[in-house]
Structures are given as C-alpha cells and as structure tokens.
C-alpha cells in the first residue's frame, strides 16, 4: 500500500528575516519575485499547493 503525507505543511517560503517561521524547512527569499519563484518550484516538485498566509509567508501544503 502506498502511504503519503497529506494535509501537512511541507515547507515555508518567506521574505521576512525575523525568524518567526520555524518547525518546517524554511526558504528565505530576497524579494517578492524570488519568493513566488521558489514557491512555484517547491509546489511543482512536491506536488503540493502554495498558500499565501498574508504576512509575507507562503506555505507549501500537500493536500
């Protein structure tokens, strides 16, 4: 049987540098564009969806 993780935050991408995001792999981006770019790559690679937390943090969630 195939087992996979779902409904889990696989990674976070952020441009804030104050280290509020912990507990998951965090990717720091230099700019908004880079954050989007990293999010796209991560969501494609992980077959997951990028969600906007609205505070400069994107989370990559597997559904």
């Amino acid at each position: 049987m195939e087992v996979s993780i779902t409904k889990a935050i696989l990674a976070a991408v952020t441009i804030t540098r104050d280290e509020r995001v912990t507990g998951v792999p965090v990717f720091y981006a230099e700019s908004e564009e880079e954050m989007v770019e990293i999010s796209v790559i991560l969501s494609r690679v992980l077959e997951a969806v990028a969600h906007d937390m609205g505070n400069g943090v994107y989370i990559i969630v597997k559904h």
């Binding site: 195939e2 796209v40 990028a50 969600h51 906007d52």
Partner: protein
Amino acid sequence: MTREILTIVTGVFLGTISRFWMMRRDFRQYPSYPHAVVTHLALGFVAATLGAVAIPALAAKEYTAVTFLTLAATQFREVRTMEREMLLALEKSALVSRGPDYIEGIARTFEARNYLVVFVSLTASLVTYLFSVVPGIIAGIVAMALVRRFMQGKLIGDVARVRPGKLHFEGANLFVDDIHIMNLGLKETHKVYEEYGRAVVIEPLDDNAREILANVGQRQAIAHEVAALLGVRRDVDTAEFTPLLRRNVKTGRVGLVIVPIEPDMECLLEAVKNVPVLESSFVKPLASKAGYCATD
C-alpha cells in the same frame, strides 16, 4: 423438448440478455471493453442459470436444490468485492479520483444487477413452466422493463438547480459567488483561474437535497465526472488545479470550481446535472418529524 429443458433455456436466455441490457457502457466505458464486459456477461449467465433451474428443481420436489441460491448470494458478494478492489486500485492513477463513496456505489450496483438477473430468469422460467415459451418470454421482457425502471436513480439535476457562478479572488482566496473555495498563493495560478477557470453553483431544491450535497463523497463524484467529461487543465504536479466543491454552510449551496480543457459553460452545467445522486449520500431528513419541523 421436455418442459424442464424449455423452462431452463428460456430462463437462462432472458436472464443473460437482461444482464447485457443492464450493462450501460456510456461515456464512462465501464465495465471496460472487451474483458470486463465478458466477465460480467459470464457472471450474468451464471446468475441466470441459478434463477432458471430453481423452478424445475422445485417442481421435481428437489427442495434442497433451492439452497444453492445462497451460493448465488456469496458469488455476487464476491462480484462486489472484485469491483471495489479493482476501482480502489485504479484510483491512484486517476487525476481526479472517484472517491470511496462512488466506488462503493458502483460495486453495489454490480452486485445488485446480478440479483436482478436472477429475478428476470426466475420470472421467465416460472411463466414458461406454467404456460409456455411465448408467455415466458413476454414475462421476462416485462420483468426486464420493471428492473430497468427500478434501477434508475436520481441525478443532481433532479434535486438541485445548477447555474453558472462568478469566480473571483479576494486577496489570495478564491470564491465562487459567496462560497469560499480555497487559498491560492501564486499570482500565476490566479491568472490561470481568471482566464480559464469556470464556476458553477449548485443550489439544493429542498432540505433533502441540501444533505445530499453536504456529503463529501457526492461532491467528489461530481468533481470526477465533470473532469472526465470536460477535461481538466492539470497534471500530477499542479495540485492547485484540482476541481473542488465547497459548501456554504449557511445556505447549503455548493460551489464548484474547475479549470476545464473545454471551457464551455453549457456543457459544464449539463455535466453537473447528469451526475448520479449516490445511494450512500441519499438521505431524506424531510421524511422525519424532526427534520420536517426544522425547515423554515
């Protein structure tokens, strides 16, 4: 030819024909052709034989012979398990899965149709035994027509009003009219939704329908059917374009959002209307006193 042989032949023949007739290989192409079709025809033949020999056996005072109808029950349960396991195994390779409720419904239908075959062949053989072949065939055909009527379930179009919805974003959140669907972070995704996305609102006609649409399995079945008919602009690595149905808890309305390959709204509405109401999601709260008095 002896009466018994005639009885059995008529019963088997009409039973097998009825299984063939019940096999509706529409756009779903299920059971798949040719092998699954052959499997089910063969099983239908077995069912028809079981039904057809019951009357001559009883007439010959072989009462214990009827016990092998219980064998039929075991056999048909096996059919259900077979269908369920196969569809569940295939589920992983589908872009938009059917969902366990839909699969259970399909498996149950396959089991039930074998019992219906027994009914048809039993009716045909009984009338043939009592009268002759022609009345037997007529009785078989009448039984088939009854079965066909009995089999017909409801469609989403019968229990709900299906109309186009307005797809829009509020910040990162995707909405269909006032129904929140999901949060999507990427602007690129927003653009695809705004350009190619289509939205449908399914409004339940009464409280029974509201509960039907509340069932997650029913909604998954709608997503699967719509994606199968109109195509879905996604691949394994673009999970954000999976068709989704979400419910407005206040009104019971359900919003569907999909990025179809064929963005034709009329066809989309038609596809949603023709999704069967699943047996497992079908409830009638209005039939109870509490459910009825709670309506306003």
